[in-house]
C-alpha cells in the first residue's frame, strides 16, 4: 500500500501496519503490513472466502433474529414491525420451574461429560503413542474413528437395541448372573450415565486425533536426551509428552468449558423419552419443543440468547484463567 509522504507521513499510525515496518522509498511510504500480506497471500485468502461466506450467512445474519426475544412476534407483521416488549419473555422464562430444571440438567450432563470425556482422548493418545507396532496402531486408530462418522439417529437406534431389557446383550449378562434386567433408556438413575458413556464412546477416537498430531510433532531428540539421562518410559511421558500437549490441552479445555452450556441436541433428542424428561431434558431439546412444537418462538429465542450469553461468559473466563496459569489462550 502506498501513501504520499508529504501529506500523510506524520499522521500515519504505525499501529495500522502491525505486520511489518514502514518503508520509505523516493518520498513515498510503503506499508509492508497486514494489507501487504493479504495481497501476497491472495490465493490463500481466496480459499478462506467460502468459510467466511458460510459464517456470515449462517452465523452472523441470523443474529438479526434475536430481536424476536424482545418482541411480541407476529408472523404477519414480521420481526421488525412486531411490537417491542422489553425483557418480558425473559421474566416469564425465569419464573418457570421447568426452565431451571432444564438448565440444571444441561449443566450436570455437561460437567459429567467434561470430567469423564475431556481426559479420555488425551489418555487414549498417550497410550497409542506408546505402541511401537505401526500396523496395530493404525488399525486401532481407524476403529476408534468409526463411530464419529455415524449420526446419533443411527447410534440412538443401535443403543436402544444393545440396552434393550428383553433382547439386549447387557441385560442378557445381568440375567445370566441372576440379576434383575434394567431398562437403561427409561431409567432416570441410569440415563445420564448412558449419555456420558455413549458420548465418550462416539467422540474419544476422533478427539484423540489432535493430541496424536501434537505428539507426532515432538522432537525425537527430546526423548533421546531423556534416554541418555536414564529416564524410563513413564518419566518420558511425564516430562516430555504431557508438557508438549499442554498448549493443545489448554485450548481444548477453553472450548470444552465454553461448551458446558451447549449440550448435544442430536444425542439427547435421539435417545431420550418421556420417562426420563426429568433428568434428560436439556436446553436445546427444550428450545425445540417450546419453539417448534408449541410455536412459542419468542420464548425459544430468549432461551437461546440466554444460553449464548452464558457460553460467551464461560469461554471468556476460561480463556483468562488459562492465560494466567500457562500463558496459552485463544485470544
Amino acid at each position: 500500500m502506498i501513501f504520499n509522504i508529504s501529506t500523510k507521513k506524520d499522521s500515519l499510525d504505525q499501529k495500522l501496519f502491525k505486520g511489518g515496518p514502514l518503508k520509505v522509498e523516493n518520498n513515498i511510504v510503503i506499508a509492508k503490513g497486514r494489507l501487504h500480506s493479504y495481497v501476497k497471500y491472495k490465493y490463500l485468502m481466496l480459499m478462506l472466502l467460502p468459510a467466511l461466506v458460510y459464517y456470515i450467512v449462517f452465523h452472523y445474519v441470523p443474529i438479526y433474529g434475536l430481536l424476536i426475544a424482545f418482541k411480541d412476534f407476529k408472523f404477519i407483521e414480521g420481526i421488525w414491525a412486531s411490537p417491542w416488549v422489553g425483557f418480558e419473555h425473559f421474566k416469564d422464562l425465569f419464573a418457570l420451574g421447568s426452565f431451571w430444571e432444564v438448565l440444571r440438567n444441561t449443566i450436570i450432563i455437561s460437567i459429567y461429560k467434561l470430567i469423564w470425556g475431556f481426559p479420555a482422548p488425551i489418555i487414549l493418545s498417550l497410550l497409542l503413542n506408546e505402541i511401537y507396532n505401526v500396523h496395530f496402531k493404525k488399525v486401532i486408530q481407524t476403529i476408534s474413528y468409526l463411530p464419529h462418522f455415524l449420526s446419533w439417529v443411527i447410534l440412538g437406534g443401535i443403543f436402544l437395541q444393545v440396552l434393550s431389557p428383553s433382547t439386549g446383550p447387557i441385560n442378557m449378562i445381568l440375567r445370566y448372573f441372576k440379576l434383575e434386567p434394567v431398562f437403561f433408556m427409561a431409567n432416570p438413575r441410569w440415563f445420564r450415565s448412558i449419555l456420558v458413556t455413549t458420548g465418550i464412546w462416539k467422540s474419544v477416537g476422533w478427539g484423540s486425533v489432535i493430541y496424536i498430531a501434537s505428539l507426532a510433532a515432538i522432537n525425537p531428540e527430546l526423548y533421546e536426551a531423556c534416554t541418555i539421562d536414564g529416564a524410563n518410559r513413564f518419566q518420558k511421558a511425564l516430562h516430555v509428552s504431557i508438557p508438549s500437549l499442554i498448549p493443545v490441552i489448554s485450548i481444548m479445555l477453553i472450548f470444552a468449558v465454553g461448551g458446558v452450556i451447549n449440550d448435544d441436541f442430536d444425542q439427547v433428542f435421539n435417545m431420550y423419552n418421556e420417562a426420563v424428561y426429568k433428568v434428560a431434558d436439556v436446553l436445546s431439546t427444550y428450545i425445540y419443543r417450546v419453539g417448534l412444537e408449541s410455536m412459542q418462538f419468542e420464548r425459544a429465542t430468549a432461551v437461546g440468547l440466554f444460553k449464548n450469553v452464558i457460553a460467551f461468559t464461560l469461554i471468556s473466563v476460561a480463556n483468562s484463567i488459562t492465560k494466567k496459569i500457562n500463558e496459552y489462550g485463544i485470544w
Binding site: 476408534s144 468409526l146 447410534l155 437395541q161 444393545v162 433382547t167 477416537g205 525425537p220 526423548y223 533421546e224
Partner: protein, 46 residues
C-alpha cells in the same frame, strides 16, 4: 516416540497391558455394530 530396544520387564508388562487394553477398546467400539449386524441376519424378537 523413539523405539527403545533395551526393554525392561516393566516396559514389557506395560506393552502387554497396553495391547490388551487396545484390543478390548477396539472390541467395545465395534461390538454395538457387530451386534446390530448379527441381529439383522437373525430373527430378532426386538
Amino acid at each position: 516416540m523413539t523405539k527403545n530396544k533395551n526393554k525392561s520387564i516393566s516396559g514389557l508388562v506395560f506393552d502387554t497391558c497396553n495391547m490388551i487394553f487396545m484390543v478390548l477398546f477396539s472390541f467395545s467400539i465395534l461390538y454395538p455394530f457387530l451386534y446390530i449386524l448379527s441381529v439383522s441376519f437373525t430373527d430378532n424378537p426386538a
